[in-house]
Subunit: 147 residues, 2 copies
């Protein structure tokens, strides 16, 4: 296999993924929430409950900045903080009722657009796509083992 060509295909692919996910989440960021805040909400939605440190690490932002943005989200009643009973330093973050509703709505729209994209695929094609997702996630887009 031609390594250069393979790499180019990889680059084109990741560009396409970025492009498409951008298109699919466009106009989701209403409601006075900023892009960074949306990314945090998305992360919390998928991984809740999470601690501030986890958000900080996974979103590649410093603790002070994470703390600030999270404070804004809590002020907007989109997130709740609860102190860990075992370790009183830790805060568990989860979506509030409003935050959950917001993200449910967001995911609903994204899912709608996703279904539109695959609506022309036959059942066999869906199986192929399904396996392609598995393959790429396990062989290429896996998480680095922490050193």
């Amino acid at each position: 296999m031609d390594k250069k060509a393979f790499f180019h295909k990889f680059v084109a692919f990741t560009t396409a993924v970025h492009q498409v996910t951008h298109d699919m989440t466009r106009d989701i960021k209403w409601d006075s929430i900023t892009p960074v805040q949306y990314r945090i909400l998305e992360y919390v939605a998928v991984s809740q409950p999470v601690t501030l440190s986890e958000i900080s690490e996974c979103q590649h932002m410093s603790m002070p900045n994470t703390s600030r943005e999270l404070k804004k989200l809590c002020d907007k009643n989109l997130c709740d903080k609860t102190t860990d009973a075992e370790d009183h330093r830790k805060q568990f973050i989860s979506l509030s009722k409003d935050g959950q509703a917001l993200m449910d709505e967001a995911f609903k729209r994204i899912e709608g657009r996703f279904q539109q994209r695959i609506q022309d695929a036959s059942e066999e094609e869906l199986e192929i796509i399904d396996r392609a997702l598995d393959v790429l996630q396990s062989k290429v887009f896996y998480s680095d083992a922490p050193s």
Copy 2:
């Protein structure tokens, strides 16, 4: 096929792609160039020569902001502008010698990390990955037809 589960797999996958591309381009943004400027350079590198309007549209930024960032890149001697001979309003943007060197170096590092990721894959697995990329790009991550 379970639609909900399929959608969740899609979301997890795109998250993984974002995560991995972020990891692979970390510490590439040396040299006093900002993330947005890097994205522009990457786009120019792949698609040159391009016009300002094309950059503006593909990178989802307004013309004034695109113009400003491009001016900075030209001031840093990373890009060249040449006026279209046929339409004097248009400017073709391409990488300068320095800009090309910068992006060659960047792509070299990214490619190194890519090769690391797939180094354990057998030849047959590479074939499978190759086809998986094709499938997903054509069936899921294709560009929307402009309305």
